[in-house]
């Protein structure tokens, strides 16, 4: 048991709100949890050692933030800004399009309460320790409801900024009704030695369509643990892109649960780790019913002394005939001291399925480099093109142009600062 976890359990006792009954159940589970160590399979390659010297403290230090810091050129979005768990947006002042309702987690409308009843801890009932921590402590967050048939064009963006030495827990709950369409962006940013957990749960109704982005862009000293969990209704469609960097410890769990038939999920993931950074992505795709499709592509570039962990699990249940599932993880090591642990995990109990998976780790391809040089391209430019090209492919697949145009140079600049050793 870590001191930090003991404190969490202690603090959880004093959280009293409308979600208390559910939080209570989570707390009971949490109290029986072991602090994960090297022998805990799900944490085997990700050490929780940084928690021993945690600088972040819970508390609502009021910080003024210039919202322009988060402005993305060309992106017209409905922004909900959280700073250290404090909501800086007056939801009442937002002009919301028809069919969209947004509630703060600590000031729910009746409708939001009913959404939370369906979504909170329901989309992903089996949560790991930090998911449970978030269950018991996250009093900040939003509940987003898109009514049946509503098509919300404007992306909803939840900005979650955590500043140096602050600990914060945030939750996003989203329900898309029947044939509803929406774009949701989880934009997380942790400064300095911040520590935060941020979990989101999405329930997609019949023929609902969700375009989803999660940006987990943290400083090198931050600790960030979070997840985005999706429950796919019949014929629903998900297009999700997750982009992560930074952190002495970053762990994200993405779960896509095909609960209704003929759902389609596309999930792309990019990570770009500079010196000493650690990024761990666990994705779990559950095909519980027939005729579901999942396409997952994860690509990462790992710098000197940095470490990436990728665990991609696909579980095809006995009834899930005609499932199409593809999972691919490709990594590029910029240094011999970088480390990648990649593990596709397939469990298939149905016989009429198409399932493909692959994982590769490569160093810089000397032959490709020579080829580019032989065409007159300078060495530095060739290296950038070769290596960045690798993740660029996934950036280009993002449906939102403003986000593509924002992310591409941001990642490229970051990449150019990563030395090849």
């Amino acid at each position: 048991m870590s001191q930090w976890l003991a404190d969490v359990i202690d603090r959880a006792g004093s959280v009293q709100d409308w979600l208390s009954p559910v939080r209570g159940e989570a707390l009971a589970t949490l109290q029986n949890q072991q602090w994960p160590g090297r022998r805990t399979e799900a944490w085997r390659y990700t050490s929780l050692h940084p928690f021993d010297a945690l600088l972040a403290q819970p508390g609502s230090t009021s910080v003024q933030v210039d919202s322009r810091e988060f402005a993305i050129e060309g992106l017209e979005s409905l922004d909900l800004v959280f700073v250290n768990g404090e909501l800086h947006t007056d939801i009442g002042s937002l002009s919301l399009p028809a069919g969209l309702s947004i509630s703060a987690l600590d000031q729910p409308t009746d409708n939001a309460r009913s959404v939370a009843g369906q979504v909170f801890t329901q989309v992903k009932p089996e949560r790991h320790l930090f998911g449970l921590v978030n269950d018991v402590l996250a009093t900040s967050g939003v509940i987003i409801d898109i009514a049946d048939g509503a098509s919300v064009e404007t992306p909803v963006r939840v900005i979650n900024l955590v500043t140096d030495k602050v600990e914060s827990h945030n939750r996003v709950l989203v329900r898309l009704g029947k044939q509803a369409t929406a774009t949701v962006i989880e934009h997380g940013s942790g400064d300095g030695a911040s520590m935060n957990t941020a979990f989101a749960e999405y329930q997609l109704g019949y023929e609902a369509r969700l375009e989803h982005y999660r940006f987990a862009l943290h400083s090198a000293d931050a600790i960030h643990i979070g997840g985005s969990h999706f429950q796919m209704g019949e014929k629903s469609r998900l297009n999700s892109t997750l982009v992560g960097y930074g952190s002495q410890l970053s762990r994200l769990d993405v779960d896509i649960h095909h609960a209704g038939e003929h759902a389609f999920a596309k999930f792309n993931n990019i990570y770009l780790l500079a010196e000493n950074e650690h990024f761990d992505l666990h994705s779990t795709i559950e095909h519980a019913v027939p005729n579901g499709t999942t396409e997952e592509n994860a690509r990462g570039i790992v710098g000197d002394n940095a470490k990436a962990v990728f665990n991609g699990r696909i579980h095809i249940h006995p009834d899930a005939q005609k499932t199409l599932a593809e999972l691919n993880n490709r990594n590029l090591l910029l240094s011999r001291r970088g480390q990648i642990n990649t593990k596709p995990e397939l469990e298939i109990y149905a016989d009429d399925v198409q399932c493909a998976h692959g994982a590769t780790v490569a160093e810089i391809d000397d032959e490709a480099l020579y080829y580019m040089l032989s065409r007159g391209i300078s060495r530095s430019q060739a290296l950038v093109m070769l290596n960045f090209g690798f993740v660029q492919e996934l950036i280009e697949q993002m449906p939102n142009k403003a986000l593509r145009d924002w992310l591409q140079p941001k990642l490229k600049t970051r990449f150019e600062g990563m030395e090849v050793k």
């Binding site: 391809d365 000397d366 032959e367 490709a368 020579y370 080829y371 580019m372 040089l373 032989s374 065409r375 007159g376 391209i377 300078s378 060495r379 430019q381 060739a382 093109m385 070769l386 090209g389 690798f390 993740v391 660029q392 492919e393």
Partner: protein
């Protein structure tokens, strides 16, 4: 003189492959280099282009007055040297278009020309694509990614057309091609013969030389040019093979 190679020696992994090669090429000339496998034909292309591990042990190569071996790989390309690879490299994630645009503009920059705008480049690329009979979709695909052998060779010729080099070295650009593809490649090359641009056509077989008529033919065996002549020498090789070169070459062939 476009290229002047004097007494070139080069070894790979400690084994001497080129053993005193001499070759002079004037602007506008087409030189075919033929020879058995293992004679050092591909090595010559790599040494001239500057591939890692293919450094010259001794000898010189003057390229338009500059010492070629003083230049980095990219500087040689910028100076107008082009090698069409026998096995073009696949680069997923970098589009053919982006790759060629970067190349063309790197070379233009060196020449003191302004970079081509995206639309000007696209126009040129489309024309070149047509010329080598590749669908336009190939511009958007990753460099050589999933291309067939013939498509890769045609992509090399497309690059050659776009880069407008001074000296082109074609390393077995005919290998693995059927007659139609061979003709496309040869037409691409012939379209670039303008009386100034020079070519070294490296080939094992005489077949390509039916389409690209050389001014000179050299037989490379055991790291040296053992015989030079005009186009008729290629026909002779076609009839007699390389057996007349003697035991030494056959050993190299093995």
């Amino acid at each position: 003189m476009m290229l002047s190679i004097k007494d070139l020696h080069a070894s790979i992994d400690g084994k001497e492959i080129l053993k005193g090669l001499n070759l002079d090429i004037k602007p506008g000339e087409v030189h075919a280099i033929m020879g058995p496998n293992g004679a050092g034909k591909s090595t010559l292309g790599y040494v001239l282009s500057g591939r890692d591990g293919y450094q010259a042990d001794s000898g010189t190569a003057q390229f338009n007055g500059a010492d070629l071996f003083d230049l980095e790989v990219e500087e040689r390309a910028q100076a107008g040297l082009f090698l069409a690879f026998q096995y073009p490299v696949e680069i997923p994630g970098v589009s053919n278009m982006e790759f060629m645009k970067e190349s063309v503009n790197a070379i233009r920059e060196k020449r003191g020309d302004d970079p081509l705008s995206a639309s000007d480049f696209l126009k040129k690329a489309k024309e070149a694509c047509k010329q080598v009979d590749l669908p336009l979709a190939f511009l958007k695909r990753g460099v050589n990614e999933g291309f067939s052998g013939g498509e890769k060779k045609r992509n090399e010729i497309m690059q050659m057309i776009l880069l407008e080099p001074k000296l082109c070295i074609l390393d077995e650009s005919d290998s693995g091609l059927d007659v139609d593809a061979l003709q496309v490649v040869a037409n691409g090359v012939n379209s670039q013969r303008d009386g100034k641009r020079s070519f070294i056509v490296v080939t094992h077989y005489q077949r390509l030389l039916d389409y690209i008529e050389p001014d000179y033919v050299h037989i490379l065996a055991d790291g040296k040019i053992v015989k030079s002549g005009d186009a008729s020498l290629a026909k002779e090789v076609e009839k007699t093979g390389y057996a007349w070169l003697g035991a030494k070459a056959e050993e190299a062939d093995a």
